[in-house]
Symmetry: C2
Subunit: 372 residues, 2 copies
Amino acid sequence: MSNDKDSMNMSDLSTALNEEDRAGLVNALKNKLQNLAGQHSDVLENLTPPVRKRVEFLREIQNQYDEMEAKFFEERAALEAKYQKLYQPLYTKRYEIVNGVVEVEGAAEEVKSEQGEDKSAEEKGVPDFWLIALKNNEITAEEITERDEGALKYLKDIKWSRVEEPKGFKLEFFFDQNPYFKNTVLTKTYHMIDEDEPILEKALGTEIEWYPGKCLTQKILKKKPKKGSKNTKPITKTEDCESFFNFFSPPQVPDDDEDLDDDMADELQGQMEHDYDIGSTIKEKIISHAVSWFTGEAVEADDLDIEDDDDEIDEDDDEEDEEDDEDDEEEDDEDDDEEEEADQGKKSKKKAGRSQLAEGQAGERPPECKQQ
Amino acid sequence: MSNDKDSMNMSDLSTALNEEDRAGLVNALKNKLQNLAGQHSDVLENLTPPVRKRVEFLREIQNQYDEMEAKFFEERAALEAKYQKLYQPLYTKRYEIVNGVVEVEGAAEEVKSEQGEDKSAEEKGVPDFWLIALKNNEITAEEITERDEGALKYLKDIKWSRVEEPKGFKLEFFFDQNPYFKNTVLTKTYHMIDEDEPILEKALGTEIEWYPGKCLTQKILKKKPKKGSKNTKPITKTEDCESFFNFFSPPQVPDDDEDLDDDMADELQGQMEHDYDIGSTIKEKIISHAVSWFTGEAVEADDLDIEDDDDEIDEDDDEEDEEDDEDDEEEDDEDDDEEEEADQGKKSKKKAGRSQLAEGQAGERPPECKQQ
């Protein structure tokens, strides 16, 4: 594995405000924050009367901003909903082809010419479509064991939808009748606390109704009884094991926070982050670009993006000198000669084959759990 | 400090696709991915002719999707730009009041009645506005040392703007003439590699032209010469130290990745994440809601969101049973009895005063650097 780390995978940052795909970070500073909040009321009271008047006026301006921003959130949600609707017929077509509900032009002829040669005549749709797509994304691939593959072959579709109250989203995994479990839909729901400052409330998964002896999230260990023991039957012991299907039993926060010590809290945090990574990868990447994940093109695209960029950026170094046309008049005169930048990182991007640096949540707390 | 961890601060997830505020995560798996990509071409070649035909058709559908998605990105960017423009007059007004360029109604009278009593008559605008705002956000507060405060009192405004080529954003810190450094604008620019899969290329900062002896990012240590030494002058030694102004000297990736061992790479990754957290906090939170950060209301709002939600969600538990109206016809019949969810996390949210769990980047790699 390479250690190259020239870049960080992170926000495109093309808008000012957004509540999406923000992964929030630990706030173990709550008490401190409450204290700060208290202090700040004092700060306001201690202002001299003219300054307080000005701050009151500023608060009105802030209120106007907040109203505008609320409208922005509304309009953006409407835009997103519009496109989700536009995408639906394409998702339906994909479903029908993948599962052999409809046949594409030309494929029937191919089936005929192949008949007798091999098993392809019997193949309906695109076998293992979702299994292969999930195995080609590194986040989801890590979750899939060899044992899981048998069950994931029966996966017919994955969909996501918004959940409004409480805010969040739901993933639905549609399965064909299969020898592993009774359910035909497995769901995973993420409930968020707030829109602007999105906070995960909890993650919920469908309880899987495994057929006897078919549970993929547990292993049965058989032990021979000790010699001389009266009991001659083998002792069986079940043990939790790795499986993609653990995704439907997300980590649970204990009722009483005091049951958690720092290490347990860190571990739980890590588990919840991991669980959310999988869910959001499926929602953001797999569902929308499943065909490209199936073919592997989505993997290649990730690579190409990086290499294209290496060439591109070298030509753009002088872009930094562009004027920011949003500047206030008072400040325009300050804006010319201050753009010398300590640009030591430039060369490293030319190196091909490097990997991307991790990045904590944009605008949120850093990924470490801050305990004090 | 509390260890309560009932919730994770993360994406609101209200849209399907977004490139914003995603903090990407480590991809040290690049070689593996390239191998996978290679394997996948083989997968395609090994498909039987009818299946290959179907996959070709699916790729056309995916292309249609990608075109729609590109339009969505365009429309969303336009919407965001529209609102950024709408916000500008409010930002300008704020600037003028904060810096005493204009006086608000009523404040002049207050100044008169105060005259002679204390120094308030001389106060222009809202003193220390940005310093206090930055100190009330826990991400930025952590960066500010006591020494920094003297210089940050001269901060007149902070603005952000998009950078188009390469994609990213620029923060501009406008300073009044001050005894610390010559610059009147300090900038920090984040360059991203790609829009859909946003990856940080590099971060650049203005080189600060400190006045002699005024550098806040270094400390001068004076040592007495050793007894008996011929040199009787004290030895001075400069040492880097903590300072908000280190934000303008972001971590640099070395030219040659091979110079980095795993531990160094992890450390660098952590530094880059931390640096990006500060930048995106300023862009996403501080600039847009500076007044609320100044007054402390933004801190309180964070708390209130959580507590409000505790009450709210308990009433919404049955929302899970809503039908997803985007389901394909083929699947609707499967969609009724599968919503039993393992809902053990529910109780914990009732506890007040708990804090938020950290969350890695939605849809991206988990925050740890995966080295293999």
